[in-house]
Symmetry: C2
Subunit: 428 residues, 2 copies
């Protein structure tokens, strides 16, 4: 009997009717002969409503208490879901993150899972019950305080539990049919991707595709655990997130189609671009910029340093960071102005990061050329460039983001009515 | 430094503004030099809203899951209250019932506290913080499942914690100024009772006065812990619930007024009266009635058996029980009709139980006479009578309840403009 972990997001359990529909799906899975462990997020807008309430009481609530507050959301959804399953004649028992053994560090609001001890979940399974586990939450190993894993953390809960329980697959249910080659609201011709590697999914998550949480994919990759992203509103097969080896094996078996070179195109409009103008081009100056930002807990994304002009001995350092961190970054750099020795600080939040992701680009050197040709033909100016082995990202004006994504989607043959560029699936 | 446990009910923390007001009061208590532990109920109508949600999903939800669901209510209020206190510059930390060491049996929905191990609360106090504890909830010793103590259970949480922490007093904050000699909505001249014994408070709680939960008073009596019932909307002194000895000591010291013979009058309109008609007057027949009801978990209140008529050898047995249990009681008795041998079953929910409570009636034999005279003068028919050492209760038509309470309140001089009958406070 195989074990399946199913994770349902807030939109899948938004109201009593949705909860009943999800309960039916869970019971059907069990009746089909599987063991099922369910991870559930807070219902609909509950988390936002709780954040609103906190804001009414305190402009800057302590993180420990915010975690205590927010975890009430999953407590409600998991209990109600267990009731709905019970009402269908199956036995379900709800467990908090703490009860399910989700042990984390004590970084409230963004805790990391450091151990999973699902003894009570295994007992529930052994007794024939369906355990319903609160997503997004855990308990700190040292303080025993309740923690949350940050937005989207329920995906990570599901994958971590699936790994600890040796599940066959972790099904992530959402309100779309899976991972798409681009945001269908931007590119109506976007196609659903049948399978994708962990690495590609990581790159897509990092560049703004919101289907899966970054940490959840990292976790799945570490344990080589298959993720199946699918819709809770249909029975269609969604997108499988797998290791390259598993994908090759599936292609060899004929159970998967060949992989296209490019998996998807994404745009992220939530970054700000900050330029530190005219920094002395001396050893240690750039380092002091990044030390300052690290001390202020700013997550940097792209970083570019201009070629220094011999005439001035000075250079500009430009980086991107989340818009929400931009003010803190400016403040931190301003406080170290004399030490760093720059002349000016510029911030620009009218930028977008447009990215192309595909494991196939490793072995296809023409990808970059096609990429920049497509943007040039669409008349889009590129302000920064950053690449990884399987990703190309550029910063453009925010107003150009949509046009850029559409141009790239078409150029790489990703449009549903076009022909995707595929590779033979022989190498990685 | 004295330790005070303060309990705030749902009406005291109904919205963000109320939460801030309560936070101010807590911080003021701390600033006045006390250690403070706070127990809080769910905000306003949260519990009812959660019950509504459960009902939408399942007509008969499992008790374990209902407890999991309902405990989300205090989780929200305690976290928000901790935030509000933090915002005033004091340190507060919220704790679930489980974290605070409220160990119960596993009777979901009506769990009993079997141990209190407030190690984390004591640590928080030692570090100078204000612990905020979720009322109404605990953790089952054997199953480790989350339990609730039943409606009004937050009072019990507060008293149990106060006893375990050796607090000086347990302050129960509510939306009225304390315990009144009658419901002020029924008797506008009702006066606030400055002090009352545990026994009187128990009797009042049992007969429908809703100020304090029965179990909470039992707990306080067992540990001889003073309770101070007062309003969270004013700074007035409320009602002290104490042992008779403590009251006598206070009167001797001149810090308390003399005790009136009668503390209060109450009416309870939530009972139903059931009559088992024409039961053979043989040994064991009445016992089989009560065994049947006990097996069906029906809580009986008053029981009356008519004098048997020699001509028929049969008798009628009448009892009262909560209206919510009447259908189950009828069903259980119906199933045993042949065994008990009765002729008919009558149910009547148009009844009220009107009660007079006062420790002084022990030593004042004239109380009963005044009681029945007052009802007779008011033209009220008495259907059943039951008495304890410090209480007289009668069943009347529900339409007569208000008139009965008013008549008794006046007859015993309890009206605020009248003169209460007092005793010297020398004996018990």
């Amino acid at each position: 009997m195989s074990l399946i972990v199913q994770k349902y997001g807030g939109s899948s359990v938004a109201d009593a009717e949705s909860v009943k529909r999800v309960a039916r799906r869970i019971v059907d899975t069990k009746k089909a002969g599987h063991q099922v462990v369910v991870v559930v997020s807070a219902m609909g807008d509950t988390t936002d409503e709780l954040l609103d309430l906190a804001e009414q009481v305190s402009p800057l609530p302590p993180a420990r208490e915010l975690d205590m507050l927010l975890t009430a959301g999953e407590r409600i959804s998991m209990a109600v879901l267990a009731m709905a399953i019970h009402d269908l004649g199956a036995e379900a028992r709800s467990y908090t993150g703490s009860q399910a053994g989700l042990i984390t560090d004590s970084a409230h609001g963004a805790a990391r899972i450091i151990d999973v001890t699902p003894g009570r979940i295994q007992e529930a399974l052994d007794s024939g019950a369906i355990p319903i586990v609160a997503g997004f939450q855990g308990v700190a190993q040292d303080t025993k305080d309740i923690t949350t894993l940050g937005r989207g953390g329920s995906d990570t809960t599901a994958v971590a539990l699936a790994a600890a329980l040796n599940a066959e697959v972790c099904e992530i249910y959402t309100d779309v049919d899976g991972v798409f080659s681009a945001d269908p609201r931007v590119v109506p011709a976007a196609r659903q991707v049948p399978q994708i590697t962990y690495e590609e999914m990581l790159e897509l998550a990092a560049v703004g595709a919101k289907v899966l949480h970054l940490r959840c994919v990292e976790y799945a990759r570490r344990f080589d655990l298959p993720i199946h992203v699918r819709s809770s509103f249909s029975d269609r097969t969604g997108t499988l997130v797998l290791s390259p080896e598993a994908i090759q094996a599936a292609i060899a078996e004929g159970t998967a189609m060949e992989q296209p070179i490019i998996s998807g195109v994404a745009a992220d409009v939530n970054d700000a671009k900050i330029t530190v103008v005219s920094v002395p081009d001396q050893p240690g100056r750039a380092a002091s910029i990044f030390r300052t930002l690290a001390d202020a807990n700013i997550n940097l994304d792209m970083i570019v340093q201009n070629v220094s002009l011999a005439s001035t001995g000075r250079t500009d350092v430009t980086f991107t960071c989340p818009q929400g961190s931009a003010a803190a970054a400016m403040q931190a750099l301003d406080a170290k102005r004399d030490q760093i020795g720059y002349e000016d600080l510029l911030v620009d939040d009218q930028v977008a990061k447009v990215s192309l992701v595909g494991a196939g680009m490793r072995s296809h050197p023409g990808v970059s050329a096609t990429f920049f040709d497509a943007l040039a033909e669409a008349g889009i100016n590129v302000e920064m460039i950053s690449t990884s082995e399987i990703r190309i990202s550029v910063v453009t004006r925010v107003d150009d983001a949509k046009k850029a994504v559409q141009a790239l989607h078409t150029a790489f043959g990703l449009d549903a009515d076009g022909e995707a560029v595929v590779y033979a699936g022989t190498g990685r």
